[in-house]
């Protein structure tokens, strides 16, 4: 299979890498760039462990072919920090113990960050009362809204109640 050179920005740094045309964005990050914050739990878009923010939206990186994302902007959980300061979600996950084994955690956090941006943009969810107008900002997020919007991210340790508490705390700020 032909190899192709692509450049993606990862957590603010442009990275050029040669990929097989079959290489997923996830494998390009993990196996070719050594960026292992996004995790591989299923490789089929069924678990959410590989979630990154791609071009501003939460994305399952195992379902993207790397060659199609040349020029893309990838933010992992590491890149959510401001300098050395943690993102509020990082601290909230630690404070609420929203993790156990930690393997789904970077994906949960990227997904939560992307989800909160969607809420601020007015996106409705399946459980929203008004599908046209969505929610009135992140402060309107109920626990049921968080659960619905985060359901693409599986956690086998069952840390869900603590993850929801962590996200709710950040959303309420």
């Amino acid at each position: 299979m032909p190899d192709t050179s692509i450049t993606v920005t990862v957590d603010g740094t442009p990275r050029t890498v040669t990929v097989d045309t079959r290489t997923t964005l996830l494998d390009a990050l993990r196996e070719r760039l050594g960026v292992t914050s996004p995790k591989k739990g299923c490789d089929h878009g069924q678990c959410g462990a590989c979630t990154v923010i791609l071009d501003g939206r939460r994305t399952l990186s195992c379902l993207k072919l790397a060659v199609a994302e040349d020029g893309g902007d990838v933010v992992t959980s590491v890149g959510l920090r401001s300098g050395d300061d943690p993102h509020p979600l990082h601290q909230a996950f630690i404070d609420h113990d929203g993790l156990q084994c930690g393997y789904c955690t970077p994906g949960q956090i990227c997904s939560a960050a992307g989800m909160l941006d969607e809420v601020r943009a007015g996106h409705a969810s399946h459980v929203s009362d008004d599908l046209e107008t969505g929610l009135d900002g992140a402060s309107a997020l109920t626990h049921d809204e968080i659960r619905e919007r985060m359901s693409g991210n599986l956690c086998r340790c069952g840390a869900y109640p603590n993850i929801v508490a962590a996200i709710a705390e950040v959303a309420a700020r």
């Binding site: 299979m1 097989d20 079959r22 290489t23 494998d27 993990r30 196996e31 050594g34 292992t36 914050s37 996004p38 995790k39 591989k40 739990g41 299923c42 490789d43 089929h44 069924q46 678990c47 992992t76 959980s77 590491v78 920090r81 300061d85 943690p86 979600l89 990082h90 601290q91 996950f93 630690i94 404070d95 113990d97 993790l99 156990q100 084994c101 930690g102 393997y103 789904c104 955690t105 970077p106 956090i109 049921d144 968080i146 659960r147 619905e148 985060m150 359901s151 693409g152 991210n153 599986l154 956690c155 086998r156 340790c157 069952g158 840390a159 869900y160 109640p161 603590n162 993850i163 929801v164």
Partner: protein, 698 residues
């Protein structure tokens, strides 16, 4: 980042609410799991699995695979290195052309990239001499047998008193069959390892395991290596739930490949689909429970019989009915296990093996007995509370089930429970249910810990234990700090490496009890030998101290589980908006991570009740629900509010720290509590898990 709110004072770490010491690394994703270890010039292995359930490999055509650029090695039984010890057939990988279950490893491709390896694996053409197979567990299977013992070392059958006479005379008899399906552990991190074979020979394996020393010892024996030549490193583990409690076939395969490619690290991560054949699972169970009781609900006879499967190549006998032996007072008691060896993958440990499926049956039957006698389910259990262990006659180290039930009832609002089918809001029937839970307070001998004093007043505590998400790394630090009587900030615990002192498996809810006992004893001896002002470089190593009181007692944890279930009258959908669990597990070392363990266990029970089901296609002999789209585990939207609390106690009979393990008791009983709540909502008794909507649509 404020990672720990460490108690500044010495002697107060145990019992303090402490953040995980690995929390920052995990939220950022900088914690390096096995497959993420940085190695030089890695190669990638992809497994070739059998596509028949029983037979022999007659042809293994590698020509197309080997023609691909980047393919380094194609392995099969024709060219694999010999294994020294093939007595355990799970580990006799590629040693013969035999196929004993569908999905068994029949080959492997190693290539320069994962894409090439996967492509090449698909190009390998395997032909088989196919034999008839049998993958279906049946209660009347002609090959049922009584195993020599059940996991880990219990007798298969027990009989106490005149069971049949007592049943015949009982005023009330519950006699029901319950089934639980095959279930798969499915930790979020697929089983992964990297093997490096170097001159000497010297073998280094990065593995995702609950038991680094166990994997090492297995590889030493299988490949007849010097123990000093093998090192297993397992710094972070993305969940295990028993499936990483021992080596599995893939560990052997990756070493076979590494031996063939000396100097090149071989990386193997099983795919999610491959995990359904290669890393163990919970056997399906067919159970029959008979309870005989007087009109007053006092149980006079209990019979619990289980039928389960094992594989043809290796026996694993799950202890399904063992929980029943100690749970309730009864004049007469019989428990049995019968197995049949089928053409299926090797079953193994899955969170609370035995207790989880067995207590689903017993605690469902108790709910049926409560209904039959007109007693409240809690009152029924109180009336059958045994004064000492019915199985052994030993006194309890601390049995507080009644307190758990009383506290749980108050926290949950048990008094709101009405008659079955009596409460409806809109399209939803609402019911409340409860069940009791139990799990043994195991301590495993053999772990060793060392304590060393370094410059600047810091202590290095070393033990080859594993933190699979339990928080044990943090809890061990707390225990060590108090045992040394220094602040946590001066204690550094190293785990996850066989270059550290031997540690037993992080399983059986025995990790902290066993590893902590070694750490506490090492700290005590360190102070004894070196005093409170030790010289730089002072080191002490110790194993668990003798704890003779323990053998004179029955040591078990208890809990009470409460569930509200809502059942849609049209679709049969079951929702669980809230659960309450109250547990008695001795001293709680870290309330924050302990709460997570209990919550996680209860989510597992909810999952067992409503979701998990590995479906075998008996025509082809394989698990068809072999990914996370078809094998259902709860998502965020499936889990409601979970209220967890515990009794304030310590159990100094169990071990010097006064704790009993907490990793598994949360799952025990919670599935029955869900089923009992569904019954209270609908009046329908579902005795076959999972409780899918089709079982509830009239």
């Amino acid at each position: 980042m404020t990672v720990t709110q460490t108690p500044r004072e010495a002697g107060h770490a145990v019992g303090s609410d402490v953040a995980r010491i690995d929390g920052e690394a995990k939220v950022l994703g900088l914690a390096k799991y096995a497959f993420e270890q940085v190695v030089d010039r890695p190669t990638y292995l992809h497994v070739v699995q059998s596509t028949v359930a029983r037979g022999r490999v007659t042809g293994f055509d590698t020509s197309d695979a080997e023609a691909l650029d980047g393919v380094l090695l194609v392995l099969s039984h024709l060219n694999a290195p010999m294994i020294a010890d093939t007595s355990d057939q799970e580990y006799a990988v590629l040693q013969s052309p035999g196929v004993a279950f569908r999905g068994q490893i029949v080959g492997a491709v190693v290539a320069e990239t994962p894409e090439i390896a996967r492509h090449a694996a698909e190009l390998v053409r395997v032909t088989y001499d196919v034999h008839d197979h049998d993958t279906e567990l049946r209660e009347d299977h002609p090959d049922l047998y009584e195993p020599g013992q059940v996991n880990p070392a219990y007798p298969a059958d027990t009989e106490d008193g005149a069971v049949d006479t007592a049943l015949g005379r009982a005023a009330v008899v519950v006699d029901q069959r319950y089934t639980t399906p095959m279930e798969h552990n499915n930790p979020m991190e697929p089983h992964a390892c990297i093997a490096v074979w170097e001159e000497g020979p010297r073998l280094t394996v990065y593995d995702s395991t609950q038991f680094a020393h166990g994997v090492k010892n297995k590889l030493v024996a299988l490949f007849d290596l010097q123990p000093s030549a093998v090192r297993v490193i397992s710094p972070y583990v993305g969940g295990g739930f028993g499936s990483k409690g021992m080596a599995h076939a893939h560990n052997v395969l990756v070493v076979l490949a590494a031996m063939s490619l000396p100097g090149r690290p071989v990386k193997l991560a099983l795919t999610r689909q491959q995990m359904f054949a290669l890393v163990g699972y919970r056997t399906p169970t067919l159970q029959r429970v008979r309870l005989g009781a007087g009109d007053d609900g006092r149980i006079t006879a209990v019979v619990h019989e289980a039928v389960e499967q094992t594989s043809r190549i290796k026996e694993f006998a799950e202890q399904t009915t063992v929980g029943t032996r100690s749970m309730y007072a009864a004049g007469a008691r019989r428990t049995t296990h019968r197995l049949v060896a089928l053409d299926v993958a090797v079953p193994s440990w899955m969170r609370a093996p035995g207790e989880a499926p067995g207590m689903f049956a017993l605690e469902s039957a108790m709910d049926e007995l409560a209904e039959a006698t007109g007693l409240d389910p809690i009152e029924l259990r109180v009336r059958n509370e045994p004064e000492q262990d019915p199985e052994t006659g030993l006194p309890w180290s601390g049995r507080h089930l009644v307190e758990c039930m009383r506290q749980g009832a108050a926290r949950f609002g048990w008094d709101l429970r009405g008659l079955p089918g009596s409460r409806r809001e809109g399209d939803w029937l609402i019911g409340l249910g409860m069940a009791a839970s139990t799990y043994p307070g195991y301590v495993m001998p053999g772990s060793v810990a060392s304590v060393a004093y370094n410059q600047h007043g810091h202590y290095q505590v070393r033990i080859g234990a594993a933190d699979i998400g339990t928080g044990s790394w943090t809890a061990l630090t707390q225990l060590a700090a108090d045992a040394l009587d220094v602040p946590m900030s001066r204690v550094h615990v190293e785990i996850g490496d066989t270059s550290l002192p031997m540690a037993t498996v992080a399983g059986g809810s025995a990790g902290l009890a066993s590893h902590g006992s070694a750490v506490v004893e090492a700290a005590r001896k360190f102070r004894e030998e070196h005093g409170v002002d030790p010289p730089h470089g002072a080191v002490t190593e110790a194993t668990l101290a003798d704890h003779p009181e323990r053998e004179k007692h029955a040591v078990h944890s208890y809990g009470a589980q409460f569930v509200e279930a809502r059942v849609n009258v049209d679709t049969g959908e079951v929702r669980v908006p809230r659960m309450t669990g109250v547990f008695s597990c001795g001293r709680i070392v870290n309330p924050r991570t302990a709460r997570s363990q209990f919550i996680g266990g209860m989510v597992w029970g909810l999952s067992m009740a409503l979701h998990e089901h590995s479906v075998i296609d008996h025509t082809l002999g394989h698990v068809v629900t072999h990914d996370l789209a078809d094998y259902h585990i709860p998502s965020h939207a499936d889990v409601g509010d979970i209220d967890v609390s515990w009794l304030d106690e310590e159990d100094l009979v169990a071990n010097p720290m006064g704790l009993r393990g907490i990793g598994e008791i949360g799952i025990v009983g919670s599935a029955a509590a869900v089923a009992n709540a569904v019954h209270n909502a609908t009046g329908m008794r579902v005795r076959d898990l999972p409780i899918t909507p089709d079982r509830l649509v009239r």
